[in-house]
Amino acid sequence: MDAIKQPSRSPFRIVIPSWRDPRVMMSVALTLWTVLGQTTFYFNRDLFQLGLAVGVACLLDMVLAGVVMRQLILPLSAYQTALSIGLLLESYDWRLFVIAPAWGVLSKYLIRNSKQHFFNPSNFALVMALLLTHGRATIAPGSQWGADYRVSVVIAVIGMVMMIRVNRVGLVFSWVGGYVFMSILRMAGGQGGAVFTLGPMTGAEFALFTFSMLPDPKASPPTARGRLWWGFSIAVLDGVMRYYEMRYSMFYSLFIHTAILPIMRWVAEKAGLQEADPWKLVTLSIFGKRPVSSNS
């Protein structure tokens, strides 16, 4: 994998998302969710840990963007990564909320193929935290995010609007359809009843995964057909792992799939199938040139 290579003498630019950038809405939604959770619902999230995660992720993203890409950025992606980690990860150990967001942001810069990263930073951070932190990290039980179907419904509605904007509706449906299919197989295999196998779909953990992590345009296939198979395949692997009682399987399944994403991208590139960058950015040169709007 290639780290980013940027000509050292390229102009320094300010890059900020435009209002049409789907990450803006996602960030607003995640912020609202966090604030509501802390004030209205029984989110048991530690504000210090959340703040630490946000601070570390945003600062690191800005520093790396400045040093490596010679850009001054508004770190929306890092902000989302940090909030996802802050909401999903659970640990007494504050160091985890330094390490995990740092791993997530670093993965964007250090694990890349050609021009872009392929791991979802939140997913990468969570999986690494689960595997490498000596049992200190866990995913917070979904029920502590309100344990209320209305929370899931709101997430689903906002999520679907965003899926339309980033062209990932098909991916979501293939994942959910695949999950249902595998649940039926698990039921047939005697693992449990409908509530046990299908019930997790109603929880906030599933919703956050489905609408925030899975459809990351930078960490999913570039073609519509590819995304359909991708979502279904993630569900199949998740179902198999669930059958063998492996907890947090959807995070692992996505991780494994994104690890082979470069191959899919290579195939798509060979076939001439490219996807436009979904991020809507405004780029300003700080050396007196006129502002330029672009999708960089």
């Binding site: 791993w103 344990a147 009843g193």
Partner: protein, 629 residues
Amino acid sequence: MTTALAAGYVWLMPRAEQSRVVEVSFVEQAGDAGCLNVHSMVQLSDRFENVMPWLSSIGAAAAAGDSDGDGAADLYVTNSGRGESNRLFRNRGDGTFEDVTERAGVGCGNPEGASMHAIWGDIDNDGDLDLYVIKWAEPNTLFENRGDGTFQDISSRAGVDSWGYGNAATFLDYNRDGLLDILVGNYFADVVTHEKTGKLVRNNLWKPATTRVMHETFTHADNGGRNVFYRNLGDGRFEEVAQEIGLTFTGWTLSVGSGDLNNDGWPDLYLANDFGPDEFYLNTGATESPPRFRIVVNPKGHPGIGNDWWKGMNVDMGDVNNDGYLDIYVTNILERRYKTDEGNMLWLSGADTLSPGGRGFRNISQQVGTHDGGWGWGGKFADFNNDGLLDIYTVNGFVTGDADHNYWYAIQEMVTQTKNQTADAADWPVMGDRDLSGYERGRLFMQVESQEENSSTPAFVEMAELAGIADLYNGRGIAVADYNLDGWLDMYVANQGAPSCYYVNRTGKSDLRTKSSGRAYMSLDLVGRPDQPVIVGSRQLASTKDAVGARATIVTSAGQQMREVQGGMGFSSQSEHAIHFGFGENEILHSIRVRWPSGRVQDYDAEDAKEMLNSRVRIVEGSSEISKP
């Protein structure tokens, strides 16, 4: 990237094992001492067969109390199986016991439901301890001690025969009128909606009207049992006043505790709830008459003392850092193999301008090493090595089954679901012979001198295995007392569906030649005088005979120690009423102050204190006489 991952891995690597060792030693003697009880488990309707090991996982309880007034703590132990009798073990005075259940008439026998818990208290202030047995699906039973070794069931006459699913209870005198009141914590709801008729009916787990009896969420379930509070009217009767005094939450209560947490002289409450936030109530007696309980909300506006993990199993109170304020130990669940890093909580009292009364609590358990208690149940503060510092013993283990085939995955999948989907027991996967945190060893957290100068934060080392605590049973209740009257606190542990353990403290035995051998102790048996009330303003305040809520503070050359008489605290257990102090080898006693619930204060100087050293002393309210029974 590899470097970053490696750096994080190394940074979070657990520190090397502790090097500090504390001299403490126990030997298990339940069989030899004649107090062995093999707990029989409850067996509910077949409709709960898929989760039967779970639902039948509680009921082993033990209560220590000097029921015959001979100065040595006797033991009342529950059995939960149908037709099985509870047992009363009379202490012969040397830490050996005889089974006197039949003669005493306190067997109960579980004809319809199951015994779950029991507490001792002198409800009629006649000088002997009465017994209250808490049950599932049977009226709770209050036995009046006749004083001749026999007991009489007065539950119905006294009006304390509530029917429900009690797992917790404590005696306290919440209005300081010199009469013991009773708080009962219930687990399952007492009524449910009939699955066919839709009507509200009694929730009988032996003849179920529905299988929708489980908790509605894992985090803020309020479909549990209605807690009951009995105010003692003083004429042999009680009235139920829970709603009236502010106890309205219907959580899944597993343990209740009472103590003066803000030092205003009035007993406060802490309720440890499963599947929801714990409840912390402050008694309004200092500003309101008659007193009520006002629930404390954390800065987020939620009930509770701080961020908890919604699996409260046990509450005990003790001044763990000797600052004159009670701290709280709540057990919870920790199982790192299945990534449940939650753990027991040690709430340290401290100044906090944001909290009511200027006192708040912060959980220091992870910091001081007392949070890894496994799947925790009972947990008790006690000074096991007489060094003047409170230690903690906590038991654990949920369901013992096939160690290679566990139920963790099923639990964790159900945890992810939204409200109400966990409520129907029929939806839960079959548990069969699966294990769920079985084979765990209890944890003995011995407090050691903090290595930081002037630190008010305690430090602990875990010593269970080295201390000789080796059993892997699923422990539930721990009754701490100096059963053999040798000046060292012993423990009786009721194990679920397994033989009980009687751990006799051998720390101070001369043959061990330990440093601890030279330590001193003092055991105070406080006796209140309800007939000698104190007029405070427009109020008349009095202590109960068994002095529940009284506290003694001893000032020594090493600092101070404070202990409060408890009316039954800790999951499924009660330690003896007598309060115990330990002192280092060269510690010089300066003074003793006893603060009675009546408001009366008794002071003893260094000479008096010296006289009380290394003995069990009876102090009677309002009397300068010190007797050694």
